[in-house]
Amino acid sequence: MTAPATTLADLAVGSSPEPRSFGPLTRQMFVRYSGASGDLNPMHYDDTFAQRAGYPSVFSQGMHQAALLATFATDWLGAENVRRFHVRFREQVWPDDVLTCSGVVTAIEEQPEGRLVSVDLSCARQTGGVAIASTAEFLLPH
């Protein structure tokens, strides 16, 4: 849930919240994301389709992982405060993977409307491989 205001008031460069894990991931989660996002690419819920394309099974949408990372980020810094959210897709993510989301404050800039907080975010697999590398900005009102 959203971090207490006292925590946000204490934010400094280097501040880092407790990481959060998601998973083990299931095909149902991929299907749920397909419907929620409107991207019905069968590669993410039809094993026959995925195997015919040369993959061992279906795999998670990159944007599904990005959405989990967005949950981590907005629980930390506030859903209404997001101003920029960038993701770079790296490793693929498979059923039964466990993802761990983490983040760190890289810069804080005082602006008239509030503090602009820049963060680095990461969504890593249980292997340690990074599935999503992300940067984001949140404007925390005074």
Partner: protein, 182 residues
């Protein structure tokens, strides 16, 4: 590198509370900000606009689908994120094209397509920036019917895990949006 000139027609994209709740469930969020009657959109929610683009409104990246990857995605909000009940108008434009040498020869091509989200007054509320990549060598396709054998693992996978042996070595995701071709 062609000049960034292409732009598509705008389409209506109403921000709906039920869709936000559905998206919050898929992102495993319990944040009250996504459940309220005036829920704000989650950071990546605007991907939903793609589903409702009318025929011809999407700006083509022009890449070979067998070598196509979705490399990066970004959302920029020019103020608080939009809320349920607002109606936005989405329109795509080609922002940038560039090339880089592939790690093992050939050329990687990049296209950045921006979706602009404006309100009824025409004010720019948010932008989505998608970076598409055409790899230098063929990777796997999202369309099995077109898969030809050389597309498979043109480069060795980076991790030791067996499942990853089938991954394209280029670190990115197969691009979405093949639903009609399934």
């Amino acid at each position: 590198m062609s000049a960034p000139s292409e732009a598509g027609a705008a389409w209506e994209f109403p921000i709906e509370r039920g869709k936000i709740r559905e998206f919050a469930l898929a992102m495993q969020s319990e944040a009250p900000e996504y459940l309220a009657p005036d829920a704000v959109v989650p950071p990546t929610f605007l991907i939903n606009a793609n589903r409702w683009a009318p025929e011809g409104a999407r700006v083509p990246h022009g890449f070979d689908r067998r070598r196509l990857l979705h490399g990066e995605q970004e959302y920029i909000f020019h103020g608080p994120p939009p809320r349920a009940g607002q109606t936005l108008y989405a329109a795509e434009r080609l922002a940038e094209r560039y090339e880089k040498p592939g790690r093992r020869g050939g050329t990687m091509k990049f296209a950045v397509i921006v979706t602009e989200f404006r309100d009824e007054a025409g004010t720019l509320i948010a932008e989505g920036r998608a970076t598409y990549i055409e790899t230098a060598k063929a990777t796997k396709t999202a369309e099995p019917t077109k898969t030809t054998e050389p597309t498979r693992t043109a480069e060795p996978a980076k991790t030791a895990e067996p499942a990853s042996a089938a991954q394209p070595a280029t670190a990115a995701q197969p691009a979405p949006g093949t639903e009609e071709k399934a």
